[in-house]
Point group: C2
Chain length 581, copies 2
């Protein structure tokens, strides 16, 4: 071992010990006769002291150490005259008697400090240096704690960690698969799993009863800030359970994680809301309920007053921004422009100020009397000083736009404190969603989700209205996890594939093994999966999952540090039996 102690562990009680430390030169201060060096490792920082009067040669050597040099020092622990109360080792320093340079370092391309001067691209290219910075290390340590506590909790609940294969079969349903040509089976391909879904269901058929895995999954999709081509799931499945059992079990897990890793205790049951209610009140299936500002439907009171835009609209939705009557015309114009950007695509924004004196000011007051406007204010529960914001149009689009506006106003008004956590179960998702492009229904969750028995009568006539035994957990407006009770009956599963437009042959070729398994005694089962990357970021009050991944890919799916993907040489392609087209 190159050290007797780490750079984070020496205290006043160690005074007069002789110790050996190893680490990186964080900072060097040459104060004439004295040189001080901050030596850093994963565990902390310890100050090294060199006195030119005592040992000129050593002090000279010390002044020549550059930033990020790796050194080993031996010396005596002494009490510092000027103590640093900000760090746990701040009461001591080391009078160095031996100094060994283990490795030199070129000047790093950006500063290895909490606040670095390096831009995003440069830091991505030198990710191994960015990972030296304290805030980045803390994020990965946090992730490690979350993963380990997840395992402890699930183990305590009799879940078994079972590894499922990474080289599986491509299935055209859903997102695009990454595929892997097989050299031993030329012309054939494996696919990387988008999730271990069918395997975990087979494990339930096998009687494992409770399964979990923290597992990489892969989707070849266009990337966004919160999407990576490879991502990590906490993947779970249980047999002989109903939805309530699953919600209880995983609410327990999330509470355990917050308590053990964040010291946040939830003394209440997580609130629950149906998908229908979430869409009605928040226009989102993952509402941020840290704040209210629920949608108010103005249709019945705002229609029929000659304002054509409202009269023709399918929906007229409002939110009440409390104490925002002070917004100037300019502020409202800026807000309107923000909503009109193509990312949101709103046509416009109507406002209603409830003045402090009880009068009203609206952008449409030539169509509405004070009495009519008062009805709006009453419906929105607005008080003097509040500002009502109204959008209208097609129901679905208006909800989406209003959701964006609500979240934006939440940010503006400081209602979205990253250190406050508002979990919410969203229940009763629709089984299917209509896809305009392909002109058919798609599974909203996946094709293995069980419809609600009480909605089964609608399945032929109004399949879009059938609700599923499917649920999501949202925290602070982020979808953290989701799952469903699964189909465990071959006939129902087969009927589901029909509904989704599979031919019998396609269904058999792709999922025959699962349907066959259902014929040999499949128990009722269900489960869910959490996105670990998002869970960890959200628990830490952040919305950038990339920060919580040691070696993330950029928006083009590239690892710029190792420069992958890359061309293959011809011999490799030939051996695989493929050509570039």
């Amino acid at each position: 071992m190159y050290r007797s102690h780490t750079c984070g562990e020496l205290r006043l009680s160690d005074i007069n010990s002789t110790v050996t430390l190893a680490g990186w030169v964080q900072r060097s201060r040459d104060l004439g006769g004295m040189t001080f060096i901050d030596l850093r490792d994963r565990y902390g920082i310890t100050q090294l002291a060199f006195n030119a009067e005592d040992d000129a040669e050593m002090a000279d050597k010390a002044t020549k150490l550059g930033r990020e040099f790796v050194v080993q020092v031996t010396g005596k622990v002494v009490e510092r005259s000027s103590k640093n109360k900000n760090i746990p080792t701040g009461e001591i320093e080391i009078i160095v008697t031996a100094l060994d340079i283990l490795n030199a370092a070129k000047t790093p391309p950006f500063t290895i400090e909490d606040n670095t001067d390096g831009g995003e691209e440069l830091r991505a290219q030198y990710r191994y240096l960015d990972l030296r910075r304290n805030p980045v290390q803390e994020k990965l340590k946090f992730r490690n704690r979350v993963a380990l506590e997840t395992r402890k909790y699930l183990d305590s609940q009799d879940f078994i960690d079972i590894e499922t294969p990474y080289l599986i079969k491509s299935t055209p349903e859903g997102a695009r698969d990454f595929v892997v040509p097989s050299r031993m089976n030329e012309g054939q391909f494996y696919a990387l799993p988008q999730s271990p879904q069918t395997f975990k269901q087979l494990l339930m058929v096998s009687g494992f009863d409770r399964y979990y895995q923290i597992v990489k999954c892969f989707r070849d999709e266009a990337l966004r800030a919160d999407r990576q081509p490879e991502f990590t799931q906490i993947d779970c499945e249980m047999a002989f359970v109903e939805q309530e059992d699953i919600l209880q079990t995983f609410e327990g897990m999330v509470k355990h994680l917050f308590k053990t890793v964040r010291n946040v205790e939830f003394s209440y049951e997580f609130p629950r809301m149906t998908y229908a209610e979430a869409m009605e009140k928040y226009g989102s299936d993952k509402p941020d309920i840290r704040f209210g500002m629920e949608f108010v439907d103005l249709s019945s009171i705002a229609k029929g007053h000659g304002f054509a835009i409202f009269d023709e609209a399918e929906a007229i939705l409002a939110i009440n921004a409390e104490q925002c009557a002070v917004y100037t015309r300019k502020q409202l114009d800026t807000l309107t422009d923000w909503l009109k950007r193509p990312q949101i695509g709103a046509k416009g924004l109507i406002y209603l100020r409830v003045n402090e004196d009880g009068t009203y000011k609206s952008s449409v007051d030539k169509f509405y009397s004070e009495t009519e406007l008062k009805k709006w204010a009453d419906a929105a529960n607005a008080k003097p000083g509040d500002l009502i914001l109204v959008m209208s149009g097609d129901l679905e689009k208006t909800r989406k736009q209003m959701n964006e506006l609500r979240l934006h106003m939440g940010n503006e008004l400081g209602l979205r404190n990253p250190n406050q956590f508002a979990p919410l179960w969203v229940l009763d998702f629709p089984l299917l969603e209509w896809d305009e492009e392909s002109g058919r229904y798609h599974a909203m969750h996946h094709p293995f989700t069980s419809p609600k028995p009480e909605d089964m009568h609608l399945i032929e006539t109004e399949p879009g209205k059938v609700r599923a035994n499917a649920y999501d957990l949202a925290i602070n407006g982020v979808e953290i996890g989701g799952g469903s009770i699964r189909i465990h009956d071959r006939d129902l599963q087969s009927r589901m594939f029909d509904l989704l437009g599979f031919t019998k042959e396609e269904a058999l070729a792709q999922f025959g093994f699962l349907m066959n398994a259902f014929e040999y005694g499949a128990p009722p089962h269900g489960g869910l999966a959490f996105g670990l990357d998002r869970l960890v970021a959200t628990m830490n009050g952040s919305d950038t999952i990339r920060d919580y991944i040691a070696f993330p890919k950029n928006n083009s799916g590239r690892d710029v540090m190792i420069d992958a993907p890359a061309p293959l040489d011809d011999a490799q392609l030939k051996e695989l039996g493929i050509k570039l087209s």
Copy 2:
């Protein structure tokens, strides 16, 4: 929840409780008026009792349940009149008052019993049914315990679990990569990692100090019984350590695993042996030291007696099979034939019986006098009743063949008790090995392994003699893990790539990121990786890793259950920009 209790938990103390159980019909016995059913779940078996006199309809329903039906029953716990001492629930049974068939089952294609009648192929095709069998479930539960205790130990030693990417860059060094075409970067490919080697080294450069990961790795190689295209490693790396620190840390881990999971305690330090000694004494770099039978070099005494085969041989090696003088001529012929099979390729086998009366009988006694043969016996420390087996030829080949013979004799003589464990560290592996096919040196471990400083003077003149700071842990003749101290100096790493025949350009293109990282303050570091599949199998006294994998692939790399790999449709190929050749 479909049950109040599992099938493994009811005891005499539960008598008179009303309980609900759910599980699979394991067996049904119709004894006239009484029907007994063994209900099975992951936790155990509980006997259900149906009395036709009390409830004829219910009893009738019970007799109609087939094997592997999934049922839910409610009933009263009663004491059994004829107790089954073999199972924990054997003192009670359930008088069933409600019976609900949750799912019917076709008759399974093989029996779901500890000893099944299903052949290997059939069980592979219906792996989800094979996984129901108790011995198979136990193996995966065992694996789960080993993985979890590994994490607990490493966490207690300050290791951080950090996920490294699965979509990386192909490197021609070593085994073949599986590759993944990138749709977003047409004509370019990711590779699946053969190990996270370079990433864990970068994490050391980043200062994470102690890293671990239980991670899937991929090798597109010809498969054998103990090889799978995807396999799991316990992958570890430490900074600021010397070889001794690594050996201590991971010897501690293995002891922890044996103690917590197998209740086997090692009260001694694992023995250590150099690679050179292991090859000399056992002809193997992973000797099974549960038994002796070490190689004896007869060259100096057996040469020069007119027996041309020996006189011309580079090596004459013997082992002493104790108490095997009773082997008949026929047994010896069988042994010789076994050695002559192409898998081993020996030319022949010479024997020397040490008879009980002290006389000798050898297949070559026309060349050797009793006095000469006595020298053989003395060299091999043979006593009356022992049998000396001798092979000769090229040193390397003879060692390999003798190793096979030694292991075979160990099996024959019952010296390889699967419940006895003999760990052994093998040290000082050669840095390089000569590859006849390519006519150049290959890295024996990998190109990042550090040569021993004391052998550095040989690196230009006799590179094959340079030893590495590389080590393996073998248990019972199985390589469980291995690792090395790594190079952390750019110049040395660059020199190593030269030695391995890389051009400067190739080295930079493939590993430039690592060599660059070494310029920014890389600490001394090293690590190792355990093969989890093999570790688990070996700890459980088995040599079939496939049994410890939930969904293994066959020898052609196929998953016969899901039928993968499989052809892709043309649209998918087109989107990926590739064609079949």
